[in-house]
């Protein structure tokens, strides 16, 4: 018997799941935890203690937890070494924050500070010929400056380094020998746009510190139960790897690539998870990711976010309609049901009357009351002719379901009308989806309640 432990780390929830690889569709043990109130190490330890008699052969981790820190400026302590003359280039390539015209436009926040970008005299041309040789004495000065500023992480981003990596290697080697943690932007020839690999490199560097901390927390919990060689993370193409900082950006898509792997024969998968809702196309991949800082390179699954997400906010819109806004409020302080938040969300509306044991551990009675009161007040401010709370929630749920179905049907690439739905909210929404959109053969994945954990746990490591 081979036992795998699957760990699915979302931005706010963690799931742990044990399976026997001979019967991969049944979990031997499963638990879900809300991370803002529960500690990762402790919750995993408790789960493992409950299963103390189980010998774990492999640990599979798919993590989106790093997404949580993406909203903040991450790279304050990351320096960049770039080809001289292009010190402003990363900043200038930041996209505008909004797709519509503004008189005060701003660029999206850059990952790293402009003050920590250093240009070095070196140049390689498009044919890979060295035009200007790198000068080590110049690197000495930069290293001294960075030591004074207590900078530990450096990204080396040089033009045409994927065609001729001699400068990249020598600069990387130099800073490594000086004791810095160095990230180099060696890409593939698929990325003619240097910024795609520069950003990816910078994101890896920016995530490295937190990722290392989370990895350590997991290792602490696994002490005595699994060692490094048994632990695997997954990148954007679903490939397993032992903890490695230069694959972090791609690993943000690990959970979705695993779902895509699991359903690789399907054209589309509707994933209605606890934190995110996506339409995943398992048979295709993307080579770039439209990150919050602009596109960056890396193979990721073709997963399109639905317009509405679990924490999309309920608002009175410009037409005075009580309506879902695509804006997400996130899980901290959480949906109103969790007792602390003030903004009503899709999550609240779907769970106000739920007795589902999947959600009950997180739901507070005072949160329910707060949600009702808030919606009542919003009804008064809207143009709604209906005033009955239950009826309005029913209409809003139908409207939500219609938006999901619209996306699915507009994105279909074949006449195949069967669609596998998975994720914890699939159970909740499937009856409505089936009733309102009967032309689709909605197939519920039988173990969808534990899908995030289970899809991780059932990965076959070769």
């Amino acid at each position: 018997m081979a036992i795998q432990l699957g760990i699915s780390l979302g931005t706010s929830f963690a799931e742990y799941c044990l399976i026997d690889t001979r019967r991969p569709n049944v979990s031997l043990s499963f638990s879900r935890h809300y991370l803002p109130t529960e500690n990762l190490t402790n919750s995993l330890k408790i789960f493992l203690e409950k299963n103390s008699d189980v010998k774990i052969n492999q640990v599979c981790i798919a993590s989106r937890v790093l997404e949580k820190i993406l909203d903040t400026r991450l790279g304050g302590s990351v320096a960049q070494i770039v080809t001289q003359g292009f010190e402003n280039w990363p900043l200038l390539r930041q996209s505008l924050s909004n797709p519509y015209f503004e008189i005060f436009p701003t660029r999206t926040e850059a990952l790293a500070s402009q003050d920590l970008i250093f240009g070095i005299h070196e140049r390689i041309n498009a044919q890979g010929k060295v035009i200007k040789k790198v000068e080590i004495s110049e690197l000495e000065q930069i290293a001294e400056k960075l030591k004074l500023q207590k900078i530990e992480k450096i990204c080396v981003n040089l033009l045409f380094s994927e065609i001729n990596n001699t400068h990249l290697n020598s600069v990387t080697q130099f800073f490594k020998e000086k004791g810095f943690q160095v990230f180099s932007s060696e890409g593939t020839e698929n990325y003619k746009d240097e910024i795609l690999s520069w950003r990816r490199n910078l994101l890896n560097a920016s995530l490295a510190g937190t990722a290392q901390e989370i990895h350590s927390e997991i290792m602490t919990a696994l002490e005595g139960r699994a060692h490094q060689d048994q632990i695997f993370y997954f990148d954007g193409s679903g490939k397993p790897f032992h903890f490695q900082v230069d694959r972090l950006s791609s690993s943000l898509f690990g959970p979705y690539s695993l779902i895509a792997n699991k359903y690789q024969d399907d054209k589309q998968i509707l994933f209605l998870g606890m934190e995110k809702w996506y339409l995943i196309k398992p048979q295709s991949q993307k080579k770039t990711w439209d990150s919050p800082w602009g596109p960056l390179g890396g193979q990721i699954p073709n997963c399109q976010p639905l317009r509405l997400q679990p924490t999309s906010e309920l608002t009175v819109d410009e037409f005075e309609t009580l309506e879902w806004s695509p804006a997400e409020v996130g899980f901290e302080p959480g949906p109103m049901m969790f007792g602390r938040a003030l903004k009503p969300t899709v999550f609240d509306a779907l769970l106000i009357d739920s007795t589902d044991e999947c959600f009950s551990p997180f739901i507070q009675e005072n949160g329910k009351k707060k949600f009702r009161d808030t919606v009542h007040a919003m009804i008064k401010n809207s143009n709604s002719k209906e005033t009955k709370f239950e009826r309005i929630l029913g209409e809003l749920e139908a409207h939500l379901v219609d938006q999901i179905a619209l996306k699915v049907l507009l994105e279909q690439e074949s006449r195949d009308r069967s669609l596998t739905c998975t994720g914890i909210f699939a159970h909740r929404l499937l009856p409505q989806l089936k009733a309102r959109w009967p032309e689709i053969e909605w197939k519920l994945c039988p173990y969808s309640r534990e899908i995030e954990g289970l899809s991780v746990a059932t990965q076959e490591i070769k």
């Binding site: 003359g85 200038l92 015209f101 008189i103 660029r107 498009a126 619209l406 279909q412």
Partner: protein, 483 residues
């Protein structure tokens, strides 16, 4: 029709247009329902292009009419607009049409007529029953001024287009309630009401401004803002020496500028458009006549109009202090002996406002993602780029600084003809309320073993040789307030 049903219709339209860079959806009566745009010109011209085609071509499902002629609803000649029915002949469901636009790398041509600027395509039936008329396409593609890669790009765009139309029709056939005449009516009415509500909260008033361009043309604008409508009167605007806009692109610039000024993305449809009244004398630079060339008008010109609108609005709303006078981009093109054509457009710095510094080197009125990466440029063209950076200190000093312009330095590796167009060469962007002006735009050529020379004309062309360096600097924005 419930509000949620109307909203679902709106979301349905948004999702339908989402795969395209810029697109519009219209009814058979020519009412614009939704627009997705990249430029100010798109806002006004996409609808006009579709309306022109619907008026003169009885197109059926699977037919496509192509155009790029600015005087028929096109924008710059390097963008192609495709017009096709989205859905026809369903009971209860309105007949709808799509206009989608796809852009190619532009060319900078110093010209006196539109036909010298590039291949001009008046509305031309290109596809019937989803079958491309190969003879027409071949003729277009073989034209020396046809955008590079036309056939390949059309293939990609058409694939997306047919997929979206099929999915839309499948959906509406099974759920006619998603897209009804009542939903169209209700959505347009609601959109109009949204704008009326906004106008009702604004102070009524009028203001006049005059913008004098370096080339001597004058744009005169009077805006009258009431609780019922916004009137833009460009009477007195001179004929063009350099910039020519079509009336549709002028409308787009006015609407885009107001929407930006109000800091609210307004619904873009006939409901809101019906409250905007733009008039300009026929033949003036904002309502040019064929065969006036329009490239500069569609790019620099729309941005000048938008800035003029914002300045005029600032006169009416004494409380919102904005000095957004956007510098037009500094544009260059290089035509190599091999026939390869390189184009670059360097955005200037944005003017400062009462509350903040101006943004550095931003194309304020463009929302596309066409950016020249260094490696892509050097791989495709015989160029070595030595520098791309902010033009430090080019923003006007003041309490708030104007945004910096951009500077690039290229080394030419094969003989090439340089063409350029500079808008703010002699008169930099002025500062407001005692602040300093930004630096003017500049272009220098440094030939081998010679001193660097500054270009002293607003536009022109010159031969460059291998080893020559070309240094291009866009203008900085004006400052705000005494520093």
């Amino acid at each position: 029709m419930s509000s949620l049903q109307t909203n679902l219709f709106r979301i349905f339209l948004d999702e339908t247009l989402s795969p395209f860079d810029s697109a519009a959806c219209l009814t058979a009566e020519g009412e614009i329902l939704d627009i997705k745009y990249e430029t100010l010109a798109d806002i006004g011209t996409l609808g006009q292009g579709a309306q022109t085609v619907m008026k003169y071509f009885p197109i059926q499902m699977g037919d496509v009419v192509i155009l790029n002629d600015p005087y028929s609803g096109g924008s710059v000649l390097s963008t192609m607009t495709l017009i096709t029915p989205l859905i026809l002949g369903h009971n209860q469901v309105p007949d709808l049409y799509l206009a989608i636009r796809t852009g190619f790398r532009p060319q900078l041509v110093i010209s006196k007529t539109l036909d010298e600027e590039g291949l001009r395509i008046p509305p031309t039936p290109l596809i019937q029953g989803r079958q491309i008329n190969q003879a027409i396409l071949d003729a277009m593609a073989s034209h020396p001024l046809c955008p590079e890669g036309l056939k390949e790009r059309l293939e990609i765009v058409l694939k997306k287009l047919w997929a979206r139309i099929d999915a839309f029709n499948d959906l509406v056939t099974k759920h006619p309630g998603l897209c009804t005449k009542a939903a169209v009516k209700s959505y347009l009415k609601n959109s109009r009401q949204v704008l009326l509500d906004i106008l009702s909260e604004l102070p009524s008033g009028e203001a006049k401004t005059e913008t004098k361009l370096e080339s001597g043309e004058v744009i005169k604008l009077r805006i009258e803002l009431s609780h019922e409508a916004v009137q833009f009167d460009f009477a007195g605007t001179t004929n063009s020496k350099r910039l020519c806009l079509t009336d549709a692109s002028t409308f787009g610039a006015c609407f885009g500028a107001v929407s930006a000024y109000l800091q609210k993305p307004l619904p873009l449809n006939s409901g809101t458009f019906s409250l905007f009244h733009v008039t300009s004398p026929l033949g003036c630079l904002l309502n040019a006549k064929y065969p006036s060339p329009t490239y500069k008008g569609m790019t620099e010109g729309t941005s000048v109009v938008a800035s003029t609108v914002i300045q005029t609005l600032s006169e009416i709303f004494h409380t919102t202090k904005v000095s957004v006078y956007t510098p037009a981009p500094t544009q260059i093109s290089l035509e190599f002996n091999s026939g390869k054509r390189f184009f670059d457009s360097l955005p200037g710095g944005v003017g400062a406002s009462a509350n903040a510094d101006g943004a550095d080197a931003i194309h304020l009125w463009v929302r596309n993602r066409l950016q020249n990466s260094v490696q892509e440029v050097e791989t495709r063209f015989p160029l070595l780029i030595h520098h791309i950076g902010l033009r430090k200190g080019s923003g006007g000093k003041g309490q708030h600084k104007g945004g910096c312009g951009l500077m690039k330095e290229y080394e030419i590796l094969e003989p090439a003809k340089l063409r350029w167009s500079i808008q703010h060469r002699k008169t930099p962007l002025k500062g407001m309320k005692g602040a300093q002006a930004g630096e003017a735009a500049e272009i220098f050529i440094k030939r081998q073993n010679k001193e660097k020379e500054q270009i002293t004309l607003d536009e022109g062309e010159v031969q460059l040789n291998p080893g020559d360096h070309l240094i291009v600097a866009s203008a900085g924005g004006g400052g705000w307030g005494k520093g």
